[in-house]
C-alpha cells in the first residue's frame, strides 16, 4: 500500500516540477547544454579553423598531448596557486557581511546629524589645512575617509555597502593600477610598512620585489625548470593574491552573504540571547551554519572562477609575467584556441579543468549534504 501511494505522489510531483522547470530547462538545453556537448565532442577531434584540415576524430590524442605539455602544467600550477587564497577571501566577506547586515543607524536622528556635522567640520579643517600645506593627495585621502564616516553616520550601512561594493565593479583597472603603486619595490606602501616593521624587529632581510620577482611562498618545492621558480619569498603571485583578497572581500560574495544573513529568522537569535550567548557565540553557532548553503555556492563559484579567471589580471597588471609566473590556464585556452587556432586542443584543456572542478564540487557536495542533514 505505501509504495503505491508514494509512486503516485512522486509522479504528480514530477510533473509539477517540470511545470516550474520547463521554461528554464528549454533555454538551458538550447543555449548552454547543446554547446557544452559540442565542445566535449570537439575535444576528441582535431578541430581547427583551418579550411585545409578536415574534421577528424582523434580520440584521446589531444589529452595525451596536454599531459606531456610543460606549458600546461606550469599554467595549471599557477592557477591552482591562486586558488589557495579563496578561503581567506570567503571568510573575509562573511565577517564584513555580518558587520553590515544591520542598519547601523544610531537611535536618535538628532544625535546622528550632530555627530555627522562634527565630523564634516573636523574633516574640512584637517583637509583644508593639508591642502594649504601642499599635501594634496593626503588631503584627498583623508577627506574621503571623513566623508565616508559622515555618510555612514547619517545613512547607516547603506552607504558603507555602497562604498565597498561600487569599486568592485566600477574601477577594475584603477584598482589594479593603484595596487601596482602599492607594490612598487621602492616607493610603494607595502615595502614602506614592511621596512619599518623589519627595522623595528631588527631583522636585516632584503625587501621583497613583489611584482618583479619570480619567488613564491611555495618556492621550496622541487619544481621543474620550466616553472620559472625563483626560490622562496614574496613574489608576483603573492602580490596578486593579496590584491585579489582585497578586491574580493567587498564584492559579490559580501552582498550574497548579506542577503543570506538577512533571511535568518530573528527568533533563532532571540532564543540564543535568552540562553546568554555573546555575539561571537551567536555568529559561530547560528549565523555560520545557517548560511551553509550560500557558503557552498560561494565555494563552488570561487573554484570555478578561480580556474577560469586571472585573464584580466594577467593581461593588465603583469602581462602574465614575470617569466610567466602569473599566467593562468584561461589565458592559455585563449591563445591556443583563438590565436593558434587549435580549438580541439583548447576544448580538451577546458574539459580537464572541468574534471578538476567537478571533482572538487562533488567532494563539497557530499560534505555539505551531510552537514546540512545533520543541522536540520
Amino acid at each position: 500500500m505505501p509504495r503505491l501511494y508514494s509512486g503516485v505522489r512522486e509522479r504528480k510531483h514530477f510533473w509539477a516540477a517540470m511545470g516550474f522547470l520547463a521554461l528554464n530547462l528549454t533555454g538551458f538545453l538550447i543555449f548552454t547544454f547543446g554547446p557544452v556537448l559540442l565542445s566535449l565532442y570537439m575535444s576528441f577531434t582535431n578541430w581547427t579553423l583551418r579550411r585545409s584540415v578536415d574534421l577528424q576524430w582523434v580520440g584521446l590524442r589531444n589529452y595525451q598531448e596536454l599531459l606531456s605539455d610543460s606549458n600546461f602544467w606550469f599554467y595549471l600550477y599557477n592557477t591552482l596557486y591562486f586558488m589557495l587564497g579563496i578561503p581567506f577571501a570567503v571568510v573575509g566577506s562573511l565577517v564584513l557581511a555580518n558587520l553590515l547586515v544591520d542598519n547601523m543607524l544610531l537611535k536618535r536622528k538628532k544625535l546622528r546629524l550632530r555627530i555627522a556635522n562634527v565630523l564634516i567640520i573636523v574633516g574640512l579643517l584637517t583637509c583644508g589645512f593639508l591642502l594649504v600645506g601642499g599635501q594634496k593627495d593626503l588631503a584627498l585621502i583623508l577627506g574621503v575617509i571623513y566623508i565616508g564616516a559622515a555618510a555612514g553616520i547619517i545613512w547607516g550601512s547603506v552607504s558603507y555597502r555602497t562604498m565597498l561594493y561600487v569599486p568592485s565593479f566600477a574601477s577594475g583597472v584603477a584598482t589594479i593600477i593603484l595596487w601596482q603603486q602599492i607594490f612598487n619595490p621602492y616607493y610603494g606602501m607595502a615595502n614602506n610598512i614592511l621596512g619599518e616593521l623589519l627595522a623595528w624587529v631588527n631583522l636585516d632581510v632584503d625587501l621583497p620585489t613583489w611584482l618583479n620577482s619570480t619567488k613564491s611562498l611555495l618556492g621550496f618545492l622541487p619544481l621543474p625548470a620550466t616553472f620559472s621558480n625563483g626560490g622562496v619569498g614574496l613574489g608576483a603571485r603573492e602580490a596578486i593574491m593579496i590584491m585579489g583578497f582585497w578586491m574580493g572581500i567587498g564584492g559579490n560574495n559580501m552582498i550574497l552573504y548579506i542577503a543570506s544573513i538577512a533571511s535568518i529568522p530573528e527568533d533563532l537569535y532571540e532564543a540564543a540571547d535568552i540562553d546568554g550567548a555573546g555575539s561571537v557565540g551567536k555568529f559561530w553557532h547560528i549565523t555560520v551554519p545557517s548560511v551553509a548553503p550560500t557558503t557552498f555556492f560561494i565555494a563552488i563559484m570561487a573554484t570555478i572562477g578561480g580556474l577560469q579567471g586571472g585573464f584580466q589580471f594577467a593581461k593588465i597588471m603583469t602581462e602574465g609575467g614575470p617569466a610567466g609566473t602569473t599566467t593562468t590556464l584561461a589565458y592559455y585556452i585563449y591563445t591556443k584556441g583563438f590565436v593558434e587556432q587549435e580549438l580541439g586542443y583548447a576544448a580538451a584543456i577546458s574539459w580537464i579543468l572541468f574534471i578538476i572542478v567537478f571533482a572538487l564540487t562533488l567532494v563539497n557536495w557530499k560534505y555539505g549534504n551531510r552537514k546540512m542533514e545533520a543541522a536540520s
Binding site: 579550411r51 585545409s52 584540415v53 593600477i177 614575470p322 593558434e340
Partner: protein, 496 residues
Amino acid sequence: MKQFFIGALVLLGILSLVAQMLVPAPPEPGKTQLVWTTDPNPQRDPQLEWFNKRYADCNLRIDPDNSDSMKVIVQSCAGMGPDIIGHVGWWSIQNYHEAGILMDVTDHAEAMGFGLDTLAESVRPLTTLKVLNDAGQIEDRMFAYPCNVFHTYLIYNKNLFDARGIDYPPEDLTWQQYMDLAKQLTVKDEVRGLPIIFGAAGVKVDALIFQHGAEFLNEEGTRCTMDSEAFLDALVFYHKLFYGLEAEPTPLQKAGVSSQGGWGGGYNNWFGEGKIGMYWGARWMLISFRRFITEQRKERDIWLQENPGADPNDAPEVLRMGACQIPRFADGPRYTPTGARCAGINVASPNREQALNFLQYLASEKYSEMINVGADSKPGNIAYNKLEQFINPEWPGEEEVHEASLRAIPFGRARRRSMLINISAVNTEFSQIKSRLEATPDMTREMIVAELKRGADRVNLAIARNIKRNPKIRTMYEALLKTGAEPIVYDLEEVR
C-alpha cells in the same frame, strides 16, 4: 510581489516600443552596404567620409572591434563576417588565410592600381603569403593592403643631450657608440643608485637577431633556427644590454622611477617627460608627442607669465626631438623591425567587388594625405611617402623624425613565416624565452642555450605533427622538398 513583476514588465514593454521606434530607417537603397571591422578610432571618421564621397555607390561603416581576432573568427565561422577585415597584421594574416577568410587580391591589385609595386620592398612580405597553386608550384600571392606602415628608428631628446654637452648621435650609429651615449646620458639618483633618467630604452630584440644574421625559421620554413649560434649570440647580447651594460631599463629599474604603472604606454610618456635620452620609436608616436608638446608649451607660457623678467632657460622645457637610425654592428648590416596594420577582404562577402574599392582607396592620394597629416604612421603607398608630404606646417621641429622615418624604409625586415606551421606558435615559444631573459638577472649562456633548444625542439615537433596529420600541408612539404628545401628535423615515422 506580483505588482512589482507586472509593473516591471509593463515598463520594459514601453521601453522596448521606444527602442523599436528609434531604430533608424534602413540606409539608402541602391547603395552597397560595406562593413569594416576595426577599432573605432575617431581618426577613421574623415577616412570613411571621403571613401563614401568618392565611391558614391557604396556606403562604408565601421563595426567596432577590440583589436583581437576573436570577433572576426567567430562571425566568419558562421558566415556572418564583415566585408573588410581590419587589423590584419604580419601574423594574423596567416591565421585568417588558413581559416579561409581572406580573399586573394593579387590579380585585382594589378588591375585596380594597388599592386605590390606600390609598396616598399620591405613592406611587401607583410601583405603576401606563400601558396601552393594549381600547378603544384609555390608562389607569393597578395591578401591584404596596408592601412598604415611603420619602421623603427631612434628618436632622441635634444634637451638632454644639450644639458650634458654631448654631441647628437650620428646618422650611421654603431652599437658601441649607442652604448657609450646611453652610459653618458644616464642620470642616477644619489640615494639609491637607481636611474632617474635612462640613457636609452625600447630596444627591439628582432633588430639584434637580424643583425647577427639569425632568423626564427630557415628559408623554406621547414626548420626552426632558434637554436643556432648566431641566435644565441643575439640573445646573450640582448640580455647583457639589460643587466651587464645597463643600456636598457630592467623591470626593477622601471619600478624605481616613481611614476611607473599607469595605463600602459609607459615609455612614450617617459620620453615626453624627458626621462629617456634615446628611444626606439616610430612615426606613430608623434601623435602622443604632439599632445605632450602642446601641454608643455602651455605650462611654459604660464610659467613665463608668472615670472616676468626671469631667465627663459629656467622655464620648463618643451620637448625637442631629433632622430637617427637604430644602431648596427660596425661591419654588419642594418635591419630594423617593420610592421603594418593591413586590411583584407572577406572571401565570403557578397559585396566583394565593391569591397575591393576600399583597398584601392588605401592606395589613393587622399587617404595617404589624411594619414600623413595625422601622423598616423606612414601610408602604404610608397609614392606618397615623401618628406614634403610628411611635414605638417602646424608642427615644426619634426623634420628629423620624418627624414629618419623615410631613411629607415630600405632597412625594414619582419620575421619569416612558414607554410608548415602557424607563426603564432613560434611567437609564443619565443616570447616565453624573452620574458624569462628579461626577468632573470643571472642568466648564464648555458641556461639560454637550454631554453632555445627546448623552444626550437617544440616548434620542430609541431611542424612534424602538422605534416603528419594534415594532407594538404604534406603536399606543400613535398612541393618544398622538390625545390630543394632542407628536410624537417623529426622523422615522420616517429611522430604521432
